[in-house]
């Protein structure tokens, strides 16, 4: 950790500052330039709140961490890829899985029909919203508990593990039979919820907030791991930028960057990123090629009459075609990596 001091700081106040730091058990080195003085800290600085030091010491111009602010989710302390087993489907380290299903669970017929179809096409997990976050208080918000029950029926019929979104921690008891709990983009910094799902013994699908940095995503994963749950799947789903031609801008670079910085599996949700059906296939192909560990794709038996997000949903035939297209690509990538999935 390095602190650059302000111009014209007195010798006395530097000594005070250094004294304060050393009192916390760190060794320091001073480097006195022609203009500024730099204080370098030696020791395990992960316990120091960098901003706090800058904010509470008037003589400090700025500080810079040499090591990352996250520990448990980082590759430094955990170099091997994490592989997560979701009801037999293993994801991470080259094991590629496709999660598919409708935006919302609408009825037993619908969810069972979609589940059977996507399984048949090659999906290995079923998604479906029971609790839906909506910008307007007047929009359809999902079937709630009833939706969760229908998902479990679909699981029973197909054997597919289910992935569904939680909206707040009071709902946790309802999620006991859910296989993967999804924390949505708007909840990525709902820190109390992160702590609670950190105490679960289930895989968590953590979506990047549409205005959150890669570092913030990793810090939110750190919240979950800090409570003891290391089964986290990260999901890039597009960020908010000035471009309005797509719903969000898929940050494709985030995938190799996240995999470089962290050992956790990373998947891509092209449906929410693009918001346009015609872009799903090219973006899914890009996700496979860039090194993602999986995809999350919205599929609906009848997009023209879906209760939400129909414009970005594939129908069952389109999803089947996409999966046929992807299979060859996944095989190609596995061959390149010497993996026999």
């Amino acid at each position: 950790m390095v602190f650059v001091l302000k111009l014209g700081v007195s010798r006395q106040s530097i000594e005070q500052f250094v004294g304060k730091i050393e009192a916390q058990g760190f060794k320091t080195f001073l480097s006195t330039g022609t203009e500024h003085t730099v204080v370098c800290l030696i020791g395990n600085t992960s316990t120091i709140d960098l901003n706090l030091v800058v904010e509470t010491n008037e003589i400090v111009e700025y500080g810079k961490r040499v090591t990352e602010p996250y520990k448990a989710v980082g590759r430094t302390v955990h170099p091997e890829d994490t592989v997560i087993n979701v009801g037999g489907a293993r994801i991470g380290s080259g094991m590629f899985q496709v999660i598919s299903g409708p935006c919302s669970v609408e009825s037993e017929e619908q969810i069972v029909m979609v589940a059977k179809a996507v399984k048949n096409s090659g999906a290995t997990m079923l998604r479906g919203g029971a609790f839906k976050p909506r910008t307007s208080p007047y929009a359809f918000v999902g079937l709630h508990e009833e939706g969760l029950k229908l998902l479990l029926i679909a699981k029973k019929e197909t054997g597919l593990p289910i992935v569904t979104e939680i909206m707040n921690q009071t709902q946790l008891p309802l999620f006991e039979d859910v296989d993967v709990i999804q924390v949505g983009a708007r909840n990525m910094q709902n820190f109390d919820l992160l702590r609670e799902v950190g105490r679960c013994h289930k895989p968590i699908l953590l979506k990047r907030g549409f205005a959150n940095t890669i570092e913030e995503l990793l810090m939110s994963a750190e919240y979950i791991m800090a409570e003891g749950n290391s089964q986290i799947i990260l999901c890039e789903r597009g960020i908010r930028t000035f471009e309005t031609a797509t719903r969000n801008t898929l940050d494709i670079s985030a995938i190799p960057l996240l995999k470089h910085k962290s050992h956790l599996p990373v998947i891509v949700d092209p449906s929410h990123a693009a918001g346009i059906r015609a872009l799903i296939t090219p973006l899914a192909r890009a996700a496979v090629a860039v090194g993602a560990d999986g995809l999350m794709i919205e599929t609906h038996n009848d997009p023209a009459n879906a209760l939400c997000d129909g414009a970005q949903s594939l129908n069952l035939e389109q999803f089947d075609e996409l999966m046929k297209d992807l299979k060859g690509r996944i095989t190609y990538e596995n061959k390149q990596m010497g993996i026999d999935q």
Copy 2:
């Protein structure tokens, strides 16, 4: 409401689409261009989910609402300014109030001392965090219940109504004696929380999310009003942009825009927007001039040793100077508007 249909759509599918719309009780007008056909709806279209129509009807290129998606918070249905009474301090319609206090409540001595000082300088509400949202799981998160108790002691000592942030709806019972419940930027789209505070009979301070549009802020306020609570104070606190010289970019245009579109009072938080102490005074002056109804300013008895956000906090003397500077300005604005506050 206007729907523009895709190129080359068949007469039959247009008729089907129009039939579907009219079956919902709307009158339509068709306008057949050389390239596209446009369908105009007449009637109270506030019950229609625009995106749903676009998404579920393949022949629709796009739709556009002629009226806003919010109702209760809009000026159209409620042209007069809303004035909110917080323990005697009236805010809105030219009544300007300053909320001040530390980022976090740290001790009884601290909060009482700051409360007395800011009251003395002219602040009419006391802020202080008991539950703090922090990016890192290892950072100081506030004194929780103990912090709330200390705030109430400071209220007793000074008579200042208190404003403090809630993190999730399970905390609501603890907020019974709080005067204004703050919903923070990261919770602006925590829709379940919005609904719950909508059922309170207290003023809500709703902060704009750092990546949320003005329309989304109004829709979140609509969530609260839809549950029956119309005592909402909106707060602009900076948005996330490419510029890194300031912590966030204060969207000063949002204030007159919000006041144009909505009847709710709008305040500015220059401390979080800038993140730099030297900018607080100029931004506070700009907020007064642009027509805000109030300010929220972080003040600390000892910023150099604050447990969070010290860099953006004023000390007690700086806050006193700021208030002296602002008083003349508020008087000036009131005189311009013919208000005798």
Copy 3:
């Protein structure tokens, strides 16, 4: 084209507005709603400046174009893919080309050495900067005319066509022997320069500005085509967002979107998008998979001593490895599309 009129507009002013529009030769349809009136125009509205109509007619709330503002670059008037022949290398419609070379031309030895190496690895065009845009007036700005001469020597030695950036239109005479003139991101809306290169009879490589929308990129291409030059290669090179982990955010969705809207070839520059060497290979793979027509990659014989952008340059061995990796992928894509390149 559709205009939505403001609330409570008088019948007389509507008639005046409609009269003005019809005087320009358009047929109109009026649709009178319960709140707003909508005026729909029929005819070839490409000659109308939409914003002008909105801005100059107080009664208009807003207008919306039903068709795009560009014509010549759009697929509507030119459905077939444009294929551009650069000295024998054909780009577009599945013909994939790789442009490579150093950020700056530094010496004859350097550029010839790099040219030979990248050709050997499979690149079909040579890039190299002679005029360099730099944020600081004190930074290295390239060898200028001397740099162009060295590029021509490298071309002579290898047969590779050359691609190099122009900074302003006074330099055009110097670019006579250049094969492809690059218009850089900062010049994407230098409209006078666009017009001048539009009068050239050479391919233009038009880079997207780092804060320009996809529509603005197409409008800039339209400037070039409007002067008669239809040999335009579009290039996505990353946009400026709040994320700082990468230099820019590669907008991977822009590639299929541009190819959907326009007939022009689209390439990707992962070097400038990422600014990090380790991301070049995954992003290049994503570009191939997403349907790009080519890549532009910075390669340097000695990145550790490059005069600019060393951090994002591959060395000759890394580029060779990348090309080996890409060859199989390009073959795979061609097979999928039934192309025999």
Copy 4:
């Protein structure tokens, strides 16, 4: 200047790196942490290209400048405010000036009429576009040389100095009688143009690019000063963000920040920032209060029939009212600062 080295760098390569730095005449201090080594440079590091060092030395993780990359425009070397005299109107250091006029010069009658009116209302400089940058090649681009002539006629009639935009350096001879040359937002990083106007002996109005940082704006000003011209007026005109309710987001914090970092005068253009007439007055008030040195306001005799940007132009009466409103405010600010303008 501080360089943080990568983990696990060998002693030998550190010595090589230090040797290279010291060979350039700098003294260094090494600070060896438990994980990273930090190299601190002492001496005048303004001659060092920071990025180049990072990019060309594999062992360097990152570097950080302790001093700013600009010199001539910074307060450090030039602490006093620069005051620029434009035909008698002095701007800077509390001298507040208002520049007004139409977006485009359209005819002699128009420009003379507007000039007389805005002068009468209190404007001290006349703006008007002769060369207009337009996104579409089919839009009105101004009267060119004829427009410049009409501006000079208006100057003769009113005595108002004129401010008008240059599009490229070949136009410079035409600008001989222009009082202030404006470099527009899209040309802020047209470095060749910056150099050329740096050789003029006239004030330059340099607008911030809509996606450029405050530091980049100062670096562009540095380009002009590096050629010998120190008469530069900086102009904030809004930046591009995700918010679409306004044309751009006025970065109000940029004004005090720029004035803190630089000695140059800073003005605000609320017309382009907002793009909405109703916001001009509140934003102009905010600009006065925040400490700007002037305003640039679009005014048109007949906005409803303006050839461009009518929606954001005030008419003559509105401008007169605005000026009456601002006069009291400017007097108020001057009194606060003890200035007798």
